[in-house]
């Protein structure tokens, strides 16, 4: 009874447009009050919810994203990629996707990636004759691979919530699905460009000389080696890797490429602080909600309901995928994790699903949600940069959603796609 009330209060407030964190807290507070769990549980859980050492990696990777967004690395990577593949119809979108995937190995959040790639590619693509709505769709979708390719903010949040899924294991597990997703996006991108004759003017543009492009891109190319290699070699924890990346990015941006002026550093810090504050306050407030839900034992009846309905492991998984893909259209990734992971964990245990694989699966669905209108954080960024409305991108974006879904089916059918790498690396 109390359980239903919690979800009704939370659901109504959330639909009404109350900030999600506030809706979660008030829902949790109703439960704590009615269940007489002791009011001090509210500040206690608020504090304990974010005062966790692994979570420190989250603001750090947000900062990394904000720095590399402005460091000029994206521009050099684009030049380098063009020097490799050359000019021709369909090549610019291919380069955009490849560079977004590569930047995914440095930053941990989709919107920062979309801003970095969009800022460089959209003008070039418009000049080469690609319609802005198409370009915005390509970049919004490509940036979604960012949260799958390590490092990733989504994996950090999941790891904090789920015992038995460590950040390094999740990072390793996201690698193969992330790359597959990127490759799957290239197919419709090039095919659409060819079919509609986009980018005919592209061949006119100059092809950057290979060695100079390589030399200029070296600093950017080295960043993922430092971050991922450093973690793999055991030099630093994910949090420390993020801090190292911050310093490296600032060094490259200020000293090497001279694209960031010292005054802008303050702007970057403030921006990163606010972006991570917005995420982390939801984490903190959601832990009040999670406490109320778990202490009152609301999840158990739900779990029993699912098991008694006799749908079985595959059926339950299909239902979860369908529900989360729908919700992913209107809700952002971190909120989805905070609301659904506590509800779904008993099912994960019940059916014996691997928690790491399940985390990759959830993140994959969040990634799709990041560029599925109407609430699509990546697409919002790229559409704003391209000067088009979200609605205009729909005819293009659906192709990319379809391509990502194909890989999703593969990931469900063959869990080894995610689990092979972490096992090989002994995580």
């Amino acid at each position: 009874m109390i359980g239903t009330l919690i979800f009704v209060v939370f659901g109504l407030l959330m639909l009404a447009g109350v900030p999600i964190g506030v809706a979660l807290m008030l829902g949790g507070a109703v439960g704590i009050g009615l269940g007489s769990l002791g009011w001090l549980a509210i500040p206690n859980n608020f504090y304990a919810g974010i005062a966790k050492y692994p979570l420190l990696a989250l603001p750090m990777f947000v900062l990394v994203g904000a720095i590399f967004d402005r460091s000029g690395v994206a521009q050099r990577l684009v030049n380098f990629a063009l020097a490799i593949v050359g000019r021709g119809p369909g090549m610019l979108p291919l380069v955009a996707i490849a560079v977004a995937m590569f930047l995914g190995g440095i930053s941990g959040s989709g919107p920062a990636n979309a801003a970095a790639v969009g800022g460089v590619m959209l003008v070039a693509m418009a000049r080469a004759g690609y319609p802005p709505a198409y370009s915005a769709s390509v970049i919004g979708a490509a940036a979604a691979t960012d949260i799958l390719i390590p490092p990733s903010i989504a994996f950090i949040v999941y790891s904090v919530m789920v015992p038995g899924a460590s950040v390094p294991a999740l990072f390793a597990a996201g690698m193969v699905p992330g790359v597959l997703a990127g490759l799957a996006l290239i197919v419709p991108a090039v095919w659409l460009a060819r079919r509609h004759g986009f980018g005919r003017d592209e061949a006119i543009g100059p092809r950057p000389p290979f060695w100079r492009a390589l030399r200029e891109a070296t600093w950017g190319l080295f960043a993922p080696v430092l971050i991922l290699g450093g973690m793999r070699a055991g030099w630093f924890t994910p949090t420390e890797a993020a801090v190292v990346a911050v310093v490296y990015g600032l060094f490259v941006g200020i000293v090497v490429y001279r694209t960031i002026r010292l005054r802008e550093v303050v702007d970057i810090l403030v921006e990163a602080a606010e972006v991570s504050g917005v995420i982390m306050i939801v984490v903190a407030l959601a832990s009040i909600f999670a406490y109320a839900v778990s202490t009152l034992g609301i999840v158990d009846p739900l779990t029993r309901l699912v098991t008694e309905s006799g749908v079985g492991s595959a059926g339950a998984l299909a239902a979860i995928v369908a529900v989360l893909l729908t919700i992913g259209m209107v809700l952002d990734g971190v909120s989805i994790f905070l609301i659904f992971v506590p509800l779904l964990l008993p099912l994960v245990k019940l059916y014996g699903w691997d928690p790491v694989w399940f985390g990759v699966l959830l993140t994959y669905m969040v990634a799709i949600g990041q560029f599925t209108p109407p609430m699509a954080v990546n697409l919002m960024v790229s559409a704003r940069l391209a000067g088009v409305r979200i609605e205009q991108t729909v005819p293009w974006v659906l192709w990319f959603v379809f391509a990502m879904l194909v890989v999703l089916v593969a990931l469900i059918a063959v869990p080894e796609l995610a689990l092979w790498l972490p096992r090989t690396l002994n995580y």
Partner: protein
């Protein structure tokens, strides 16, 4: 507000490089992160940038939008006032019973005292927004 955030961020980074391996830097970084989160959340309230579902909030007749904005700001004020009040009790308990922190053994209230202060600041920011949307007819 922004300056505080920047200083905190710089602090965290500096601490990493000077005393990476000590337990007390972990505890300090973590508590700085809590303070940073709340300060930044306050700034985000002032600019109305928090995550919400905008389907009803941002569309539909102006009267409904206005009502929802009022509801949203009122709920925010209420939530953080409530948090401020309860966190005061938490900090008071920590002070009264001389609770020490698990990592370095300093009084726990050095950390928890920031909770009510910053929650109150967020509530004040939300109150500003509430008054603002009351005036904007």
């Amino acid at each position: 507000m922004g300056a505080l955030a920047a200083i905190t961020f710089a602090n965290v980074i500096a601490r990493y490089f000077t005393d990476q391996s000590f337990a007390w830097t972990e505890e300090l970084s973590v508590s700085l992160m809590v303070i940073l989160t709340m300060a930044a959340a306050g700034a985000a309230v002032a600019r109305d940038r928090h995550i919400r579902i905008e389907f009803f909030f941002g569309h539909g007749p102006p009267a409904r939008q206005r009502a929802l904005a009022l509801l949203s700001h009122t709920a925010t004020v209420l939530a953080f006032l409530c948090l401020a009040g309860l966190a005061t009790r938490l900090a008071w308990d920590d002070y009264r019973y001389e609770v020490t922190s698990p990592g370095i053994g300093v009084p726990q209230w050095w950390y928890t005292i920031w909770l009510p202060v910053l929650a109150l600041a967020i509530a004040a920011r939300a109150m500003q927004r509430l008054i603002g949307s009351l005036h904007r007819r």
